[in-house]
């Protein structure tokens, strides 16, 4: 039954897990993509074909970094939504109660 009517504690725990996952994933993506770019940068001993391919790979990794950062922005937005809707224990809520 607890799956059909989720109680707030479980909900918030699930949210915490999801948000942490997303943050970790985004951070890892950024680091690995940046590493890839730096690894693809040297030009020694490669022929034209390889270099041309690597050009596009670098572009791809750069776009991927930007997308990961936008994902972090979305995470912050969803946090703000949860905060405003009172699903996050914060001083904002306590002010409301006092009012």
């Amino acid at each position: 039954m607890s799956t059909i009517t989720p109680n707030p504690i479980q909900q918030s725990q699930q949210r915490i897990i999801t948000i942490n996952q997303r943050i970790n994933e985004a951070a890892n993506t950024i680091v690995s993509d940046y590493t890839s770019i730096v690894a693809l940068a040297p030009v020694a001993g490669k022929d034209r074909t390889t270099t041309a391919t690597e050009t596009y790979e670098i572009e791809f990794h750069a776009t991927s970094i930007v997308r990961a950062i936008e994902d972090l922005l979305m995470v912050s937005r969803s946090l703000k939504e949860s905060w405003i809707l009172g699903q996050v224990a914060s001083s904002f809520q306590m002010n409301d109660e006092r009012a």
Binding site: V43, K46, T51, T55, E70, E81, I84, A99
Partner: protein
């Protein structure tokens, strides 16, 4: 000694049972041809120089096999040797067939290679090539069409400058992209911060916010309607809090923005015609500075809308009292002394109606207007209570549904219309009683 009919050679078969296969001297059983052939090739170099005659000579040169049979040769041993002979024959046949197959395959390959080489040669020396080409190839491929030559291969040196150029381009493009994205996202973060500050202001002032999950919009929404208070109006009463390009919070209601306000006008007969002697309409601030005031305005206008809707509906119920609905937007309530006109006017026309503010009946108009608003709230509360009460059991026979009760106009009309009637009735009765008393 028996002669077999396998080949023209004589095969010497001893009546002794043939030794078991583990005997190393008979390791050459015909069953594993693929092992024998390499062995033979190893021993003799190749199969080129082997002919029937050479083999025969070899066999004759070998000391003859042992043909003495032991004295007591039993029939069973003979039978054993016979079965072994059959097995031997079968093995030999299989091996021969295999060998034939392999040899013909080898011949095929050799013929193909010959054709290939002769085709190559025919481009240089046609005579030599055509003689060795097969007729099949000659008919399908023109003579001299395949040529070969030797080329001197140059060592390939890659030009590094091109690669360097491309790489620098790519890396600088990537860095530019990241820089631009950083700028854009920093701006975006600031805009988001402002937006959420405004949302917080609205939330703190007690509005009900919700997360909208519409197909094209996912964000914050605010309930500005009266559904929670018991209204059963068709309007949903939910507005979305969007963020426009400059980062300002925009309250967007469903459909077009409302602009109509309810106005109550009192008309009295003057020289045979009716003249407006007082009018009142709620003053609503058109200027909306921020989200809060926008929500308030939306709420007020929704209330006015609902109020007029209810009043218009109830005119039908009160038709017997003389209440009429003209042109679908003017409600006329005729009373003995005056006439009440209820209609909706546009917000922008508020200024034009200012001159009627000084009319003598303005107070009455205001009172009626306020009373109508209160009566609608009362109706909301009644609906809310009805919704909260326990419903009747299923199957309870309800009265035939009528067009409903008039909650708003009827109390008003009755409270305004009854006193004069009461007065006239009282005077009539007083006259009657006084007349009767005199008697």
């Amino acid at each position: 000694m028996s002669t077999s009919s396998l080949t023209g050679d004589d095969i010497f078969v001893s009546l002794e049972p043939p030794p078991l296969e583990e005997d190393p001297s008979h390791a050459r059983s015909f069953r594993n041809l693929s092992q024998i052939i390499p062995q033979i090739a190893l021993e003799r170099g190749s199969f080129i120089n082997i002919t029937e005659d050479s083999l025969r000579k070899e066999l004759e040169a070998r000391p003859s096999p042992h043909v003495e049979s032991p004295p007591d040769e039993t029939p069973t041993k003979l039978k054993q040797s016979a079965t072994n002979l059959a097995q031997f024959e079968e093995d030999f046949n299989n091996a021969r067939a295999d060998l034939n197959r392999l040899i013909s395959a080898a011949q095929n390959e050799a013929a193909i290679s010959l054709d290939f080489v002769s085709l190559l040669i025919s481009s240089v020396r046609p005579a030599a090539g055509t003689t060795s080409m097969s007729p099949h190839l000659k008919s399908h491929v023109p003579v001299g069409s395949l040529g070969a030559d030797r080329i001197k291969s140059l060592p390939y040196v890659e030009d590094m400058s091109v690669c360097l150029g491309w790489k620098t381009q790519a890396v600088s493009a990537a860095s530019e992209r990241l820089a631009k994205a950083a700028e854009r996202l920093a701006e975006e973060a600031v805009l988001e911060k402002n937006y959420w500050e405004q949302v917080e202001k609205i939330a703190v002032s007690g509005e009900v916010l919700s997360k909208m999950r519409m197909p094209d919009y996912r964000g914050m929404g605010v309930r500005y309607g009266f559904a929670d208070a018991g209204s059963t109006y068709k309007e949903k009463g939910i507005a979305t809090l969007r963020r426009n390009v400059e980062g300002k919070l925009v309250v967007k209601t469903e459909g077009e923005k409302r602009t109509k306000v309810l106005s109550v006008a009192i008309m009295r007969p003057l020289h045979g015609d009716y003249v407006i002697t007082g009018q009142y309409a709620l003053k609503i601030n058109i200027e909306t500075r921020d989200g809060k005031s926008e929500i308030k305005q939306a709420r007020d206008l929704l209330f006015e809308d609902e109020l007029f809707f209810e009043i218009a509906r109830e005119t039908r119920i009160l038709g017997s009292q003389g209440v009429t609905l003209d042109f679908g937007n003017k409600v006329m309530i005729p009373l003995p002394a005056l006439r009440i006109v209820i209609e909706t006017i546009d917000l922008e026309d508020q200024e034009s109606s200012m001159e009627l503010d000084s009319g003598p009946d303005r107070v009455i108009a205001e009172a009626i207007n306020v009373a109508l608003h209160l009566l609608l709230s009362k109706l909301h509360r009644k609906n809310l209570k009805a919704g909260r009460s326990i419903p009747l059991p299923l199957g309870t026979r309800t009265n035939t549904p009528d067009i409903g009760k008039s909650e708003i106009l009827e109390p008003l009309v009755s409270s305004l219309a009854v006193p004069p009637i009461k007065d006239s009735l009282m005077t009539l009765i007083m006259d009657l009683t006084s007349a009767l008393k005199e008697k």
